[in-house]
């Protein structure tokens, strides 16, 4: 198959700075040379190829938008998004790793942590020496995290945590977990959600892997089990009270997903377009049939629309004016778009489409998770519904 050189039907490159293009192209080159040779086996045998961690860290892809002071690259939002696009062109599992480390583990320490916490954790996380995870979802509380059961009780010098989290990306390989738990406010008597930094090896804390997934197989997904885990005071994130703490992290990660899935869609489109030119049926390349051309035209159109959405979303984020519902719109639209492109591409490849010879089925299966995590398609519909009508349908 011809080497992937991006999809740019609308001269979207002209909307990007030289630096943004360079960052994207470098990540693309790395994915092509270093990651793609590993991914099919990792996916088939269901493991995360951890040997890439030092390399993506070295490139500055972990917590890339955070300040240099903490050992991070300090790039702008759009450059970060384009890097996520390229990682996910490799595999959603790779982008998930980077999203969780950067947006869901490093970001809360940066945004809600003390300076001492930032200095303690962020530089080593940027180097990839420490892996983080984010525990919000529970077996009985997914779309409705406010109902969570996991609870912290105050004790001398710290807290005791009990509960269970589920579907936690990176859980088993994580050195630290940002765990969200309810804590009773002593003055008001009200339960508020707080974030705690749990460390691997703390007594009563374990993270068994969830096996038998048919999606995101090259990514680690785990339970977090908390049985009387004693967490010192210094591991409480001081500046996050209530659901807006975890939601703030999710906004960061969803932004990356909106870009990331465009990468998956591009990989599928590229595979389908190339295949359609070489596969001959009825005496001509299948790409010469109108029905196949219509599919390719639809894919290209959808990808182009999603790209434009991303560029503007990136600019809004850089300006600091972006609203969560704008991120919801892009996450919702682009995940659905990518899934449709992947399914169409799978069809264009016929039987070959279901094999590991092509990346299409892998992306298609991954995208089912990406559609669900970080707020399901439905939940983002409700976020938009509320933005339009002023009436919240889900609270």
């Amino acid at each position: 198959m011809a080497r992937f050189s991006g999809v740019d039907f609308y001269e979207i490159d002209s909307l990007l700075s030289e630096e943004e293009r360079q960052i994207r192209d470098h990540v693309r080159g790395w994915v092509e040379d270093r990651y793609l040779p590993l991914v099919e086996r990792a996916y088939e045998e269901a493991y995360f190829p951890a040997e890439v961690i030092p390399e993506i860290a070295e490139m500055g892809l972990l917590g890339a938008t955070l300040p240099e002071k903490y050992g991070c690259a300090g790039v702008n939002a759009l450059a970060y998004g384009l890097a996520m696009q390229e990682l996910e062109r490799g595999d959603s599992g790779l982008r998930s790793f980077a999203s969780v480390q950067g947006s869901l583990a490093m970001y809360p320490i940066y945004a809600y942590g003390s300076e001492a916490q930032r200095m303690k954790w962020l530089p080593r996380m940027a180097k990839g020496e420490l892996v983080g995870c984010f525990g919000l979802t529970e077996p009985d509380f997914g779309s409705n995290p406010a109902g969570m059961i996991t609870r912290a009780e105050r004790k001398v010098g710290g807290y005791v945590l009990n509960g269970a989290k589920m579907w936690i990306t990176n859980g088993t390989i994580a050195d630290l977990a940002i765990v969200w738990a309810k804590l009773r406010d002593e003055d008001t008597g009200r339960d508020d959600i707080h974030g705690f930094i749990l460390e691997k090896g703390m007594k009563g804390f374990s993270a068994p892997e969830q096996k038998r997934k048919h999606s995101l197989r090259a990514s680690v997904t785990s339970e977090l089990i908390l049985q009387d885990v004693v967490v010192p005071e210094e591991n409480l994130l001081p500046d996050a009270v209530g659901l807006k703490g975890p939601l703030g992290c999710l906004s960061q990660a969803r932004f990356g997903i909106a870009f990331g899935v465009v990468g998956s869609a591009m990989a599928c489109f590229h595979a389908a377009a190339e295949y359609s030119k070489s596969r001959v049926q009825f005496g001509r390349p299948i790409g010469g049939f109108q029905l196949v051309q219509e599919r390719l035209a639809d894919m290209l159109t959808q990808i182009t629309q999603a790209q434009l959405l991303c560029v503007q979303l990136g600019r809004l984020k850089e300006r600091g004016t972006v609203r969560t519902e704008q991120i919801s719109l892009a996450k919702r639209n682009n995940c659905e778009m990518a899934l449709e492109v992947a399914r169409e591409a799978r069809d264009v490849l016929g039987a070959n489409g279901i094999t590991a010879e092509y990346p299409v089925m892998r992306h298609m299966c991954n995208l089912e998770s990406v559609k669900t995590y970080e707020g399901t398609h439905n939940i983002h519909t409700l976020v938009l519904g509320e933005a339009i009508t002023g009436i919240a349908a889900y609270r």
Binding site: Q22, I23, G60
Partner: protein, 249 residues
Amino acid sequence: MIQVVCIKQVADSETRVKIGADGKSLDPSGVTWILNPYDEFAVEQALRVKEKLGAGEVIAVSLGGAGVQATLRNVLAMGADRAIHLKTNSPADPLQAARALAAAIRDLGAQIVWFGRQAIDDDAAQVGPMTAELLQLPCVTSIASFELEGTTATVERDIEGGREVVEVTLPAALTTDKGLNEPRYASLKGIMAAKKKPIDERPLELGEAGLEVVSLALPAARSAGRIVGQGTAAVPELLRVLREEARVL
């Protein structure tokens, strides 16, 4: 220590090139331009030397049209400190290029002048040695390993059937081969820093050309293969065809 790396921008080998209307040059439309892969080893080795010494300067030099600056930026993103762009829109033959490079490098005080062993577009492998000669520097070509001890470099070269070990006293010119090192990927930080690093742009008048490309043609399309038979029974016929028709035995 000052090191100079001479780099060339070339068409990506993945690009399906077309011959231009003049029949003598590549049609630049639709070509993806990259840093000549052999030059990547040169850049990487220069950066390693600088990092090991903990001081010094790596200067990238290239000649060509405005587009060359994108490749120079990539080299700056990898970690070079500054760049010199000798700007010309005319194609240079190897000696013209060597003269231009030598003139630009002469006063920089470089201890090592690095080149890739050859550019993957014209495969001439001349610019490194010619520039070295013009600068009156000893030159070791196609190095596959590099050790520096004070002002003496010990390098190895892969030669027919073996390895040659060469000692060279700096200042020297070295051309790099595959296997010397594993070139790094630019980091996001490096890319951002590169934007602020200077590219010194100098208009270049090429001297008299010694060579002229008369014509350029794509290789003939390969004809379809032929199956001469199956199993051991086909071996005599295969040998006959290889000997008499293909004349490769």
